[in-house]
Symmetry: C2
Amino acid sequence: MSTDGLSRRRFFGLAGAGTAGVLAAGAAGGVIGRATAEEPAAGAAAAATDAVPFTGAHQAGIVTPAQDRLHFVAFDVITDDRAELVEVLQAWTAAARRMTAGQDAGEVGAVDGGQYDVPDDTGEALGLPASGLTLTVGFGPTLFETTEGVDRFGLAARRPEPLTELPGFPGDAIDPAISGGDLCVQACANDPQVAVHAVRNLVRLGAGVVSVRWSQLGFGRTSSTSSAQATPRNLFGFKDGTDNLKAEAPKALDQFVWVADGDPGADWLAGGSYVVTRRIRMRIEPWDTSTLAEQEATIGRTKKAGAPLGQRGEFDPVDFTTQVDGEFAVPQTSHVFLAHPTNSGTAILRRGYSFVDGSDGLGRLDAGLFFIAYQRDPGTGFVQVQKNLRLDAMNEYIQHTSSAVFACPPGVTGSDDWWGRALFS
Amino acid sequence: MSTDGLSRRRFFGLAGAGTAGVLAAGAAGGVIGRATAEEPAAGAAAAATDAVPFTGAHQAGIVTPAQDRLHFVAFDVITDDRAELVEVLQAWTAAARRMTAGQDAGEVGAVDGGQYDVPDDTGEALGLPASGLTLTVGFGPTLFETTEGVDRFGLAARRPEPLTELPGFPGDAIDPAISGGDLCVQACANDPQVAVHAVRNLVRLGAGVVSVRWSQLGFGRTSSTSSAQATPRNLFGFKDGTDNLKAEAPKALDQFVWVADGDPGADWLAGGSYVVTRRIRMRIEPWDTSTLAEQEATIGRTKKAGAPLGQRGEFDPVDFTTQVDGEFAVPQTSHVFLAHPTNSGTAILRRGYSFVDGSDGLGRLDAGLFFIAYQRDPGTGFVQVQKNLRLDAMNEYIQHTSSAVFACPPGVTGSDDWWGRALFS
């Protein structure tokens, strides 16, 4: 694989100054503009085309302000050879460094030479800017030990105890073919072509060692992960993620998102996090024939403003004691009531995306939310929240059809660091 | 259905001046900015958030500069009642007028009233701009006569002779479940949430009369339809659509795209066009292991610059007499050679989109091109081109998995006009 390819932009003679500088900037997870790459200013507004620094204490793509588009992919490792797997993780890291900086994964091939080589980049992102691309890697329970109990890579003893398949929940309709996986990569960008290009080139680099198990595209972020972002709407038409954990609250992130020294697996996972993904099919057609009152009582917020019921503005505090006409304004079966930290006793960083995967052959849109959440421990994160949603009125309108959990190592730091080095060393 | 809803933007107190004016502007298919809505200037750059005029001699969404995102949906009509069908077409037209201008499809429901009504808009595009939304309707052969020969709506005698199911082609693997349809709507926008919202609200308005047969999302346009647009790249990594028919060549459009007086069905279809859609699966993994030379010989252009082989620049003329080392530079089995008007003897307006629908369960990305082409007659348009591609070297890397054809009526003009009025009157 060639490692000396030009910037996608410089190759085409467009302004590329500062591209390399992005790699050197260290603000983990922050978005910085090219012009200020050498001295990132906290809080500076970033353009959707800018690069997000790849290196840092934490992986980018977790508290990075949520980009608009997603391509999430889970892999099966199809070799038992640890060295081959390490080689892919190293090649992936090198390609991720390049692609997140707006470069190609490797040389497409020179005009006057290299025609008889297979290109080291597939080419469909040539000429496109970095577009806020982040690539976030995770390791599934089956990487450490297969479901048959085989320790293929000598990692069984390194599995942190919280990294275990999620329990079943009432109403689940989990399809194993789109669940689980030994590895995952979350690609987020503000241009879907850039996200798809990144996943495809990692797939290409992993040929013979990993195989795509399942993948999911998402087109609209359904949560803010920064208080600088406007709250988006999900496919129920409601604002989603108003009270999400945000990048601007680092103490809450330390408490609920980042694995800390002393936690299980901290010898390689400190500074990392666990990601839970759930493909949640929304029953769009019955929802669209329900009244506004039913919809608002199901969610616990108003549809237009996103205000907690009984309040006026989106960011008015959720107050479960407010009564209207002698009834609690926020019903005790509403999603907000049951999911809120006050009642679930915990918090998770949501980072999901809407999807529409065509229609289902029965005249219905195959649409919903690809739920993604980061947490310090799945047991006290997603599992605890989900258990509390047993009586959620929203359950009538949704169904979980896939499930996965991965441990995401801390960020890559030095120029010779690679995804998973601490785990494999 | 409420018809007096506010602009999505005015409702939220954002700048909405000129929104209504867009409806009055008459430049068919052109994109105009809000500030210049009353006097559209040819060639003025349009913002991706602007509205495209809904009314005009031709439907928007055909020669309109191709937006970045697609949601295409085909419907079965599930009633035999002509009046019910007409009512849906009228309701769709009213909603399309509103949504393409950046408004909601109808009232979401007032804050202090209407809670016990079903909202007339699903809400997920509240606060989003028009985003260049176009909605383009088409009528399939089975609307005129079912495959069993039943004339449900008294339209059999109005079917133009060219509107007939496409013939089979060598290598086709057509899945009937994602092919055909009585009606279609092509929604294009620069924000996928806006395109998805529009389709979903049309589905909602048609409940009980039409049912979604299949739908397809696309994330990246693969053709330019205006010489003001940069040529995009398809998932083979090549520039696509360099020599497409363009909005700036109206004589060619008259010859190859628009149905004219004297053509079959001109009594209701003059000023309209036929759309052919083909879901073309690309065999991404074998393509990605082929050499640059193989890829370029397959396409007939260079990968980086998009130049015809033997030339230097993308827009250098395709010259099939150019030789390099005694061989024709553009191979006679290349896609460009066989598809070019010089050799196919015809031209079509391509307007396709890339798709990635996850993976296929066999470790491969389920990805490709959702091909869309407009023409004056499918027989002398797509069918003639496709027949000429029998020996196309690209066939090794693609497979057509769906097929559909629809007649798209001319544009809606006056304020009481509706989609298909001339056909149903």
